[in-house]
């Protein structure tokens, strides 16, 4: 916390590595950020745009809200799934419309036909314990969460749990593992998030970027 350095001239932006990376850089370019292709999209983890107004750093998607909450980054791009799962206290002024998919409950066909509301408790394997707990308890259904950090779709096959909660983009991974969507929970896309103090103190630069991105972001 003592090292949360924000210089006023430069906006620092935390970007998610992986799934959202390519689309995010593309969107920034269209919004007028002058990125050098030999830097952005290379393996560099920290780079500037050509004007020097922005500094970007690539981090693990789940860490983006943390960097932004603590003001190490003024802004960040993170999936709605990651934001819902984190408790980060940040502004979220823009849906970037990229990285669209669905958070859903899924299971094998045989399971899908059974109404889980009639079970005394549901067991779910997931990377998203908060979203999952919220979804089931809101319907009054007790849930037992089995936390996994990846390859969640294997859980039903291996007998760990009958159902999972996971992100579904095309549905192919589910189908490959003999699973189908039982019910969607929410739509997910990438959001722009902003540090609360940075939003106030660097107001003009932040609004300019929001404006630029809002004009180019794909509409729903």
């Amino acid at each position: 916390m003592s090292n949360t350095k924000q210089s006023e001239e430069i906006l620092s932006v935390a970007l998610s590595k992986g799934r959202l990376q390519h689309a995010t850089l593309e969107l920034l370019r269209r919004a007028g950020v002058d990125l050098d292709p030999s830097e952005a999209g290379s393996r560099k983890l920290v780079f500037r745009d050509r004007s020097g107004r922005f500094q970007f750093f690539m981090v693990k998607p789940v860490d983006v809200p943390t960097y932004v909450e603590y003001g190490v980054a003024d802004l960040g791009v993170a999936g709605w799934d990651v934001l819902l799962e984190s408790e980060a206290d940040v502004h979220q002024p823009l849906d970037l419309g990229i990285g669209r998919c669905v958070m859903a409950v899924a299971g094998p066909r045989s399971t899908a036909r059974k109404n889980y509301r009639e079970l005394s408790a549901v067991r779910i394997a997931t990377k998203y314990p908060r979203i999952t707990t919220d979804h089931f308890t809101r319907q009054g259904v007790p849930v037992e969460i089995i936390y996994l950090s990846g390859s969640v779709e294997l859980a039903p096959r291996l007998g760990l749990s009958e159902r999972i909660v996971d992100l579904v983009a095309t549905g192919r991974t589910l189908a490959d593992n003999g699973l189908e969507v039982i019910e969607p929970i929410c739509e997910v896309s990438a959001r722009l998030i902003v540090n609360r103090a940075g939003y106030q103190v660097k107001r003009r630069a932040v609004s300019d970027l929001i404006q630029g991105l809002a004009e180019t972001a794909p509409r729903r």
């Binding site: 979220q92 103090a197 107001r203």
Partner: protein
């Protein structure tokens, strides 16, 4: 089984240079408080639960450390000072000349995950101005906060100034339940237009009502923001909130303090007991506000004495994270 050497989550110990720095910071800020004739008050560390829970808002109420004494009374450790100062003034100091100027420094306890430089036990330093004239006292409190920052070497800071009455008047006729209203408030606080859109659709608000709420997200800037806001509303409560804000703004300009101000009507988060102006204090270089304050005209009524009041508090750990000049 916990060992004796473990520490409970959320506690802190200061020693060595950190103690010196901290005591010097307190002394310098107190020197400004006493120059403005604020008198120190040392309230108890615990009181009845109800003293704090009223007007606190659900979020902070959940964070109260509560316990039961042997007679079965529900008690709580103090999560803030204002309620205790209000209670003391209402019950024992109500006959003193107004305004009463009181200041305090000490720890507060909140059962929350340690984050943002704050532990479960954290320190606050602040003032309360009770029973005085509205705009003059609001301006004084803000001036004391600004001079305190300058005294410890912070020259660049920003005060975001809002008015609780503006939002309250705006939504009064929407006919929303308390729960729906707090949902809307939360989305405005997050500056989340997507969530807000979904919520206004769910609540079937009229197109005009939706437009006003979306406009609220962007109601922030210089003094012109007040005029923009005026064009948006016609209800009396909101308009009088804007008059109040405009009055305070020109008073602060008269005191040559307006350069540090940002009008922010999208600021809707605050303790439930705030009734008029509210403000948050930001310093470039820190990702969190270092202090906040506001007017709470109804709080003393809870304790049987009707006096308008205003105050602010600094979050000491956050101030300590800044490069300070403590001479």
């Amino acid at each position: 089984m916990k060992t004796l050497t473990q520490v409970p989550l959320g506690t802190q110990v200061l020693f060595g240079p950190a103690v010196k720095r901290r005591r010097r910071l307190e002394r310098l800020v107190f020197s400004i408080f006493s120059r403005w004739k604020y008198e120190e008050i040392i309230p108890p560390i615990f009181d009845y639960y109800d003293v704090f829970s009223r007007g606190m808002g659900a979020e902070l109420e959940e964070a109260l450390y509560r316990f039961v004494d042997r007679e079965g009374n529900l008690l709580a450790l103090r999560p803030e000072f204002t309620s205790l100062v209000a209670k003391t003034v209402a019950t024992r100091l109500q006959d003193r000349p107004k305004p009463l100027r009181l200041c305090y420094c000490g720890d507060v306890l909140r059962y929350e995950a340690p984050r943002g430089g704050r532990q479960r036990e954290s320190f606050q330093l602040g003032i309360e101005n009770i029973g005085g004239e509205r705009i003059a006292c609001d301006a004084e409190v803000i001036q004391v906060a600004m001079e305190s920052l300058q005294r410890v070497g912070i020259d660049r800071f920003q005060f975001n100034l809002g008015e609780m009455g503006f939002f309250a008047g705006l939504v009064e006729r929407f006919g929303l339940s308390a729960q729906d209203l707090s949902g809307i408030r939360r989305l405005i606080d997050l500056k989340d237009p997507v969530g807000l859109q979904a919520e206004v659709e769910r609540l079937r608000l009229s197109p005009r009502q939706r437009e006003v709420l979306h406009a609220l997200l962007h109601l922030t800037g210089n003094a012109e923001t007040i005029d923009d806001a005026r064009r948006l509303v016609s209800n009396e409560k909101s308009l009088s909130a804007l008059d109040n804000l405009a009055g305070l703004y020109s008073e602060l300009r008269r005191r040559k303090l307006a350069d540090h101000l940002t009008i922010d009507l999208s600021e809707v988060r605050g303790l439930d007991y705030y009734t008029g102006i509210i403000f948050k204090i930001y310093v470039p270089g820190l990702g969190f506000e270092v202090g906040s304050g506001g007017r709470y005209d109804n709080l003393l009524k809870n304790f049987g004495c009707d006096l308008p009041s205003v105050g602010f508090t600094f979050f000491l750990e956050r101030l300590m994270a800044l490069p300070l000049k403590l001479r």
